[in-house]
C-alpha cells in the first residue's frame, strides 16, 4: 500500500518537474528564441545576472521547490531501479534508508546556498 502512494507521488512530481524544469531550461538555454519573442535574459550564466535572480524571492522559491520535487522523483526512481533486482528485505531497508539520508543531505546542502544568497 505504501508503494502505491510513492508511485502516485512519482506521477505528480513528474508533471510538476515537466513545468518547473521546462521554465528553468528555457530561461537558461533558449536565449536566441527568447530574444525573438522580445525577452532579454542578459547573459544568464554571468555572476551579475545570477546574483540578480538569487536576490529575488520568487526565483529562490522556484529553485527550492524544483530541488525538492526533482530529488524525490530522481531518488524514488533510482530506488525502483535498484529494488527491481528483488534483494532481501534487509537490503531493501538499507537501500531505502540510505536513499532517504542522501536525499535529506542533498536538500539541506542545496537549500542552504540559495538561502544564504537571498539573505545577502
Amino acid at each position: 500500500m505504501r508503494n502505491t502512494y510513492l508511485r502516485l507521488l512519482q506521477l505528480v512530481t513528474g508533471i510538476l518537474i515537466a513545468v518547473l524544469l521546462g521554465i528553468h531550461i528555457v530561461i537558461m538555454h533558449l536565449d536566441a528564441i527568447l530574444g525573438f519573442f522580445g525577452v532579454d535574459v542578459n547573459d544568464v550564466t554571468s555572476w551579475g545576472s545570477m546574483i540578480e535572480r538569487a536576490r529575488q524571492g520568487i526565483w529562490a522559491g522556484l529553485y527550492i521547490a524544483l530541488l525538492a520535487v526533482v530529488l524525490y522523483h530522481a531518488l524514488n526512481g533510482l530506488r525502483n531501479v535498484i529494488l527491481e533486482l528483488t534483494p532481501s528485505a534487509r537490503t531493501e531497508r538499507v537501500v531505502t534508508w540510505a536513499i532517504i539520508a542522501f536525499g535529506i543531505i542533498a536538500f539541506i546542502g542545496g537549500t542552504y546556498v540559495p538561502a544564504a544568497l537571498l539573505a545577502g
Binding site: 508533471i15 515537466a18 524544469l21 536565449d31 536566441a32 550564466t45 546556498v113
Partner: protein
C-alpha cells in the same frame, strides 16, 4: 515423444539494454530508464556546481563558468536537454496511459480481436515526432545562441 521446451525468452541482465523481440514501446522503456539515470548523474554534478562552487564568490564562479563553456561541455549539456525532453514527453505518455487515456474504449473480446495498441501507437509516433522537432529547436539554439 517430443518434449515441449519452455520459451527461451529470459534475457537476464542483458534485458537492461536489449529487449529481444519486444516492440517499440519496450525499447522506449529502456531509453526512459537510461535517460533517467543519466539525468540523475547530471543532477549530482549540477548540485555540486551550484552549491560548493557558487558559495565561494565571483572569481570561483567565473572560473567554473569558463570551464563549463568549453564545447565538449556544450555537447554534454545538449545531450542532457534531449534526455530531459525525451523523459518528460515519454513520461507524460505513460501517465496518460496509466490513467486510462489514449487507448480507446474497452470492447468485448469477440473475434477478430483488436488490441489497444492500434489506438496507442499513433500517439507514440506523434510523441517521437515532437521529440525530434524539439531536439532540432534546441540544436538550433545551442549553435546560434551563446549560452
Amino acid at each position: 515423444m517430443r518434449q515441449i521446451q519452455p520459451r527461451r525468452n529470459y534475457l537476464g541482465a542483458v534485458g537492461w539494454l536489449w529487449a529481444g523481440n519486444y516492440k517499440l514501446e519496450r525499447y522506449l522503456y529502456i531509453l526512459h530508464r537510461i535517460t533517467g539515470l543519466g539525468i540523475l548523474l547530471f543532477l549530482l554534478l549540477h548540485l555540486m556546481m551550484t552549491t560548493v562552487f557558487r558559495i565561494q564568490g565571483q572569481d570561483v564562479w567565473e572560473t567554473t563558468m569558463s570551464i563549463l563553456h568549453n564545447p565538449w561541455f556544450k555537447i554534454g549539456e545538449y545531450l542532457v536537454v534531449i534526455a530531459f525532453v525525451y523523459h518528460a514527453l515519454n513520461g507524460l505518455r505513460l501517465i496518460l496511459q496509466e490513467l486510462g487515456f489514449l487507448m480507446g474504449r474497452p470492447i468485448p473480446p469477440i473475434y477478430p480481436y483488436r488490441d489497444s495498441l492500434r489506438k496507442k501507437r499513433p500517439w507514440t509516433i506523434a510523441m517521437v515526432a515532437v521529440i525530434v522537432i524539439l531536439a532540432l529547436v534546441f540544436f538550433y539554439d545551442f549553435i546560434i545562441g551563446g549560452q
